[in-house]
């Protein structure tokens, strides 16, 4: 009898110990959100691959604090973004890397804010995302008011006076187009000769472009994403519009060239962060990424860096669950982060203290950086 009690106690002890070690080597869940399907699927999957790479490296080095990914597909649709956010809450994630579109990141952040979840977007550039001063939001990319100004300064520097501005009526697209137009007007006294919106998902822009043609612009600026950007560039060329096509970070993707065709894409001016391939600190990450997932997309490394910062912050803050969200956010805000994108610091709102947009030109189907090369070499 005594022996049996002893065996039972021993068994309980072992079971208890098992429990204890489970708790110590807890696996924390992190959400990755973006358009994983639909016409912007490439962007979402680029970010996901970046996070996956960061996760592999992290889990290999930190056996006591492993992470796992929960995927949320928002299909670039604000409604789906909210339902993906609620799914994350139910799954008990402690942080989210995403979303891609500003129109998705903004409504989803309300849900994250109320549930103690830290959100780092690698790509949503609309100012509103951080301007609401939520405790939980960060971004590793720049802001559209910075991006629009760089584009406007560049156009003004080329002594261009006739500019047509189009946008896709989304938070991101219209925000960027407005930032560009306003900066042109305020800083350079250049008024847009045409301003208008097109419907995302539409395929025929010939009517709008005919009005653009009548305004006879030298530059056609578009705030939006590559499917519409590609179609606009192609149809503009088909209509005989001579204006140079110009856009921002939503369009700078090989898909744009594929949709527009090499001829129509040729000479396009685009604003984006300095070419990741020229950034010395990103070399290792780019190589590791390309070995596994193929060519890096525009936001792949941003996804990677966002995840890295988050993992580090979780460890530093000693966070165990979504209840520690505030601690993680404070850690990110206070820290100085050495990343593949260089040294990053965040201001009180969650924006990067330094963001550097440069100009690219499409040459023979490739995006070639044409400004900021000297500063980069000096770094």
């Amino acid at each position: 009898m005594k022996k049996q009690v002893f065996a039972l106690a021993a068994a309980l002890l072992v079971a208890g110990a098992g429990f204890a070690t489970d708790a110590a080597a807890a696996t924390l869940k992190i959400g990755v959100a973006g358009p994983m399907t639909g016409d912007q699927a490439k962007m979402g999957n680029d970010i996901l691959s970046g996070v996956k790479l960061a996760l592999q490296e992290w889990n290999a080095a930190n056996k006591d604090l492993t992470m796992e990914i929960v995927i949320g597909d928002d299909q670039a649709d604000p409604k789906q973004a909210v339902s993906a956010a609620n799914k994350f809450v139910n799954e008990g994630v402690i942080g989210v890397i995403g979303h891609f579109n500003s129109s998705c990141s903004i409504p989803a952040s309300d849900i994250y804010k109320d549930n103690g979840i830290v959100q780092i977007t690698p790509a949503s550039t609309n100012p509103t995302f951080t301007d609401r001063k939520y405790w939980n939001v960060f971004r590793t990319c720049g802001r559209d008011d910075q991006q629009g100004k760089v584009a406007a300064d560049f156009v003004a520097g080329k002594k261009i006076k006739r500019v047509a501005v189009l946008h896709d009526k989304t938070t991101y697209g219209q925000g960027l187009a407005d930032a560009f137009r306003d900066s042109l007007k305020k800083d350079h006294k250049v008024e847009a000769v045409f301003y208008g919106g097109v419907t995302k998902g539409d395929k025929d822009y010939s009517a709008t472009l005919t009005s653009v043609k009548a305004a006879n612009p030298e530059v056609l600026y578009f705030g939006g994403i590559y499917p519409e950007g590609g179609l606009l560039a192609k149809q503009a060329k088909d209509l005989g519009i001579k204006a140079r096509f110009m856009s921002g970070d939503g369009v700078i993707d090989p898909e744009f060239v594929r949709i527009a065709g090499k001829e129509a894409a040729e000479g396009t001016w685009l604003t984006f962060s300095p070419d990741i391939k020229n950034v010395a600190s990103a070399k290792g990450a780019v190589e590791a990424y390309e070995k596994q997932f193929g060519p890096v997309g525009p936001y792949s490394i941003y996804g990677y860096v966002s995840a890295k910062i988050f993992f580090e912050a979780v460890k530093k803050a000693g966070a165990k669950s979504a209840k520690d969200g505030q601690k993680i956010a404070d850690t990110i805000r206070k820290g100085t982060w050495n990343t593949a994108l260089g040294t990053l610091k965040f201001d009180a709102k969650g924006d990067r203290t330094s963001a550097d947009y440069v100009m690219y030109e499409t040459k023979n189907g490739e995006f070639v950086q044409i400004t900021g090369l000297k500063q980069q070499a000096a770094k």
């Binding site: 699927a41 009526k169 919106g197 395929k203 009005s211 088909d238 005989g240």
Partner: protein, 310 residues
Amino acid sequence: MPGAEHPALAIFFQQLVNGLTIGSVYALIALGYTMVYGIIELINFAHGEIYMIGAYLGIVFLALLTAAGLAGASLGLTMVLVFIGAIVICAMWGFTLEKVAYRPLRNAPRLAPLISALGMSIALQALVFLLQGARPKVFPHLFSGTGFDLGGARISYIQVFIFIVSILLMIGLNYFVRQTKTGKAMRATAQDRRMAALVGINVDRVISTTFVVGSVLAAVAGVMVAMYYGYVDFFLGFQAGLKAFTAAVLGGIGNIPGAMLGGILLGLIEAFGAGYISSEYKDVFAFSILVLVLIFRPAGLLGEQTPQKV
């Protein structure tokens, strides 16, 4: 517009060309909606998906023929084969759709086939998504940048091609429905299905034929649009279907000339609305006109043509 003697006129002419091109595509798809409605009073919501499949098939066949080394030899022959391939397979889809999703429900309450149609629409979209992936497909830019200038407007050969093919198909369809035996059988079935059966018309076959003809038109529209935009995704059928359905209602649902008129009118309204008033509210114009027409002429512009039960 530079180079034109009358800039305002050139813009007007350009918008007219834009509107006619997209309008004739709407008309071709609208015919499929209206013919099916005319004969079995069903709004076939999966029709937009047949058009989307047609567009995909255009790309698939072109890729196959290019791989076979034919495209380099003769572009004209290749395009003919691409059209034939897309037409045959879309016709099979239309036939199967009717047989699987609508025929078993022919005597069920009207709501049942309608829901079946919505289900088929989602199923076909999902099928193409799974088979072809989420990334948009790009039609080779074979005809990009070819065209001519007329009165200050830029007209591409593809726009001319779309317009002419659409008009020819509509004339052909009109002849088919009015003059041929099958066409007469169609009209008889539309008027009274039971009487038609009593005088020896194979009603099942007539209804199948209607679906097949509608699908053929949608397939042609799909391939032409793939050539025109050079861009296809699995969501293409939704918006086009919505617009074509609007066009069918605008002209009077069930009415074949009505669908043609409605389609072209809708294309023109969109082009002129977007061009002269505001590009942001392009869709608003189309649907406002629809609402106005339905208020003042509930049966559509040319009147509804539903089976008259005697």
